[in-house]
């Protein structure tokens, strides 16, 4: 068994397919490539591959991570060369590297992510200040729990860092958010807090969200 990961971007209209669609896309690409994946044992064997973090439908990703196990050993670069031509428009594999064989999966290690949220100036208005926003000790939003009941949640502890930048007609928010199995903050909820804070409606379809990077526990680097 040989473990690898791919780093790829998902941009353009392909962002409108879900992460499960993307997983199936990779399974099929591996089948076409002839790179044999390791299958799980049991009644319903499935190939061992998965994302470090699922990316929501509609978001673009600049450095998404897919980890997988192959039956034979490959040179990582060779795999990138084989797989890239099999990718549709919008998916670009930037690198492929071997992963140390032992230890937890990247999905288990992922704990944070860097997002860029872009909102047209006229939508967010002029008075949003990240310093004031972060100065709040509580940023409460409403969220449905697993029982589908609305609960109030303070998201402030899950925001690690947040900066603003104005780029022509767009207001960009760069933010590090918890993104892992123990604590996870969806940018949707952050947006809801921004709506509460600014008192502006900010329709979802006016907002563009890009995930730029995924972080791992204890500053683990891949």
């Amino acid at each position: 068994m040989h473990k690898y990961y791919l780093e790829f971007s998902k941009t353009g209209n392909i962002r409108f397919i879900s992460h499960l669609d993307l997983l199936r896309l990779y399974k099929r690409a591996f089948k076409r490539s002839g790179i044999e994946l390791v299958y799980s044992q049991g009644f319903n064997p499935h190939p061992k591959l998965g994302f470090a973090q699922p990316l929501s439908l509609g978001y673009e990703g600049l450095a998404e991570i897919l980890e997988f196990e192959t039956v034979k050993e490959y040179s990582a670069n060779e795999m990138k060369e084989i797989l890239n031509p099999l990718m549709p428009e919008g998916i670009r594999i930037q690198k492929c590297e071997a992963l140390p064989r032992e230890g937890k999966s990247l999905a288990a290690l992922a704990d944070g992510a860097l997002y860029q949220i872009s909102i047209p100036m006229e939508i967010i208005g002029k008075d949003f200040s990240s310093a004031d926003f972060l100065a709040k000790t509580e940023l409460n939003v409403e969220k449905k729990n697993k029982k589908k009941e609305l609960v109030t949640l303070n998201i402030r502890p899950m925001i690690r860092n947040l900066k603003e930048e104005v780029q022509e007609d767009f207001f960009l928010i760069h933010c590090d958010l918890d993104a892992g199995s123990t604590s996870n903050l969806s940018p949707e909820l952050l947006l809801q807090a921004i709506r509460n804070f600014t008192g502006r409606p900010i329709p979802g379809e006016e907002v563009n969200i890009i995930r730029e990077k995924i972080y791992y526990v204890n500053k683990y680097q891949i």
Binding site: N13, I14, F16, I17, S18, L20, D21, R24, L25, K27, R28, A29, F30, K31, R32, Y39, F43, N44, P45, P47, L57, G58, P88, E89, G90, G204, E205
Partner: protein, 617 residues
């Protein structure tokens, strides 16, 4: 014009935006300027249903392998997308290049089921194309159609310029080639229609006018132009082996109904079930060679990366080298971690071996389609399956560990009585008893699902003269069965909406006056009528009222052999004499054998070689 910039903002607001983005693996991009003919292949239902349809992949491939033709896809937008397109004034567009459909040369609808007809009108309207053919101008595209429902095109006749009857993969390419030639001449659209009117399989409805008598029945079908044929012969591909079949199929990004590689093993069926339209109109049986099927399977899997392979035909195990084929494919699939699924198997010893092998521990349910509850009624419909067959197979299945059996029946079949309905209940009970006998009272989880559908008499079948049950008769029968099956532990009962079946029957055997009905139903808001959550019967009732048409006239009336039927000028190559003879045999409860045992003189061998005629005689 490319509408992408206008479509993009909508994609964030709607469900399943992946339906509208295009760009899937093996979809085709061409420079539209480089071709003489642009064809929009329109499936009048959702993307997920349309993309599971093999005919789309065949015709898309057949057209796009020609340099001069560009075929793109068009689907019915879901209701959320439709609302937004109307609000933003975005016309219906092709998936590949986001071109408004009215800029194409052809928009071609596939007619797979009657309940999609209102979607056709809705799509034309969304495309900004006048619904009625006679209101369209020289600048509008030709609106064309094909598929099984084109064998009675009359209810849609006012909306279409051209129907293609029969096998489409060669005819559609020929149509486009001739269109390219016509385009160079600069002649009128009518002249184009005249130039193709005599091609086998082409029907130009504008060249015919139906004349009705005082009782509402057809008196004659008048020709408006000398040059048009008296009857329209269906197009037949004599040898399937040489016909185009795609080695690369479009692989959707999003999950669709069937996401798998499909090889058509043969077309047609020799069994002659009397209710079955497909069994009549796809005659004769034509097979692909085993080698070709295996090669296609290999290529399709390689080019798609699919994890499932299946075979398509009307009765899978009738393929003449089925055992060898199934054995080979099982080996190939196992090697490649691909699952093989074989629908509509006849359950003999070999099939059980195959099913054991391909399903292993995750056994899906076993399905039987006795169609009728008694041997008498099965003889009427010529469904050659006995209770001994069913119970023998069930016993075997129980021994091998299957836990679920599905049974399909039809109700409202000709000559049906209460005894036939009781027969349905008896079969279900006996299967439960068999389970107790073989596995004991506490033999574990086991269930039987009984599904009944409502019989819809179809054109070009021996039952085309037969009246359909009324909605209330169907409902009474549903309650009768529900009541009796309620007491049988382990049995689940499903039945179809009666009112949907009535509308389906009206449209199936309708005449040209129904164009007005369809237009009315659509303008009242009918869409996606095949979806129970969208079907609105009161609107259909209102459409009948507003147009002065009678549901019963079309669905519940007995036609005489002498009556001119709206589809009589469409020649399926099966003769009317054969259909009459089969109907008479049905009333005598007499079986007609499979034509592999000897020709039954349906007439198709007068047009084309019948490969299977008497091969087991």
């Amino acid at each position: 014009m490319n509408l992408l910039k206008k479509i993009e903002p909508l994609l964030k607001k709607i469900e399943k935006p992946g339906r509208y983005i295009g760009g899937e693996l093996n979809s085709v991009l061409k420079d539209p300027q480089s071709v003489h003919t642009r064809f929009g292949f329109a499936f009048p239902d959702s993307y997920e249903i349309g993309m599971s349809f093999l005919g789309l992949q065949i015709l898309y491939g057949a057209m796009n392998q020609e340099d001069g033709i560009y075929c793109e896809r068009v689907f019915a937008p879901a209701t959320d997308m439709e609302a937004m397109m109307r609000e933003e004034e975005i016309p219906l567009f092709t998936l590949e290049t986001k071109t408004p459909v009215r800029e194409l040369d052809f928009i071609g609808f596939t007619l797979q089921y009657e309940m999609s007809y209102t979607n056709i009108l809705n799509m034309l309207d969304l495309g900004g194309i006048p619904l009625y053919a006679n209101l369209r101008t020289q600048e509008d595209p030709f609106v064309v159609a094909g598929g099984p429902c084109a064998f009675n095109p009359e209810p849609l006749a006012d909306f279409f310029d051209i129907f293609m009857i029969g096998d489409g993969e060669e005819l559609i390419v020929e149509l486009c080639r001739r269109h390219g030639e016509w385009k160079k001449t600069g002649r009128t659209k009518e002249e184009f229609l005249k130039s193709i009117a005599c091609l086998p399989g082409i029907y130009i409805p504008a060249f015919y006018t139906p004349v009705y008598g005082a009782d509402g029945t057809l008196q004659k079908i008048e020709k408006n132009w000398e040059g048009t044929p008296d009857s329209i012969q269906k197009a037949i591909i004599p040898k399937l082996e040489d016909a185009f079949f795609p080695e690369k199929t479009i692989v959707p990004f999003i999950e669709v109904v069937h996401d798998r590689s499909v090889v058509e093993t043969f077309r047609g069926c020799t069994r002659g079930c009397r209710f079955c339209q497909a069994g009549m109109i796809y005659r004769p049986v034509r097979e692909r060679s085993k080698e070709k099927i295996e090669n296609l399977a290999k290529e399709l899997l390689l080019n798609s990366g699919h994890e499932e392979l299946t075979l398509l035909s009307l009765s899978t195990s009738d393929y003449s080298r089925f055992e060898e084929l199934a054995t080979d494919l099982m080996g190939m699939c196992k090697e490649q971690n691909v699952s093989l699924s074989l629908p509509s198997l006849r359950l003999d010893n070999f099939s059980f071996q195959v099913l054991q092998e391909i399903q292993g521990y995750k056994k899906s349910g076993l399905t039987f389609a006795p169609e009728a509850g008694s041997q008498r009624l099965r003889n009427v419909i010529n469904k050659n399956i006995t209770e001994a067959d069913i119970f023998g197979s069930v016993e075997k299945a129980l021994e091998l560990g299957w836990n679920s059996i599905k049974l399909y029946f039809m109700i409202g079949l000709p000559t049906e009585t209460k005894e036939d309905l009781d027969g349905i209940v008896d079969i279900a009970k006996k299967i439960m008893d068999l389970n107790y006998q073989i596995r004991g009272r506490k033999g574990g989880r086991f269930n039987v699902t009984v599904s009944v559908s409502n019989f819809v008499p179809k054109p070009h079948t021996p039952f085309q003269w037969f009246p359909q049950n009324s909605a209330s008769e169907f409902m009474e029968k549903h309650y009768y069965l529900k009541d009796r099956l309620k007491g049988v532990r382990g049995v689940t009962f499903h039945y179809h909406h009666a009112e949907t079946s009535i509308i389906e029957a009206v449209l199936a055997r309708g005449d040209r006056r129904l164009s007005a009905l369809l237009q009315e139903a659509w303008s009242l808001g009918c869409r996606f009528d095949g979806w129970s959550e969208h079907f609105r019967y009161p609107l259909w009732e209102k459409a009948f009222d507003n147009t002065g048409l009678s549901m019963d006239f079309y669905a519940a009336r007995t036609r005489s052999y002498g009556e001119i039927l709206p589809w009589d000028h469409i020649d399926s190559a099966v003769t009317k004499e054969f259909l009459i003879r089969e109907n008479e045999e049905a009333l005598k409860e007499a079986l007609t054998p499979d034509c592999r045992l000897g020709c039954t003189a349906c007439g198709v061998n007068q047009r084309v070689l019948c490969e299977m005629e008497g091969v087991h005689a």
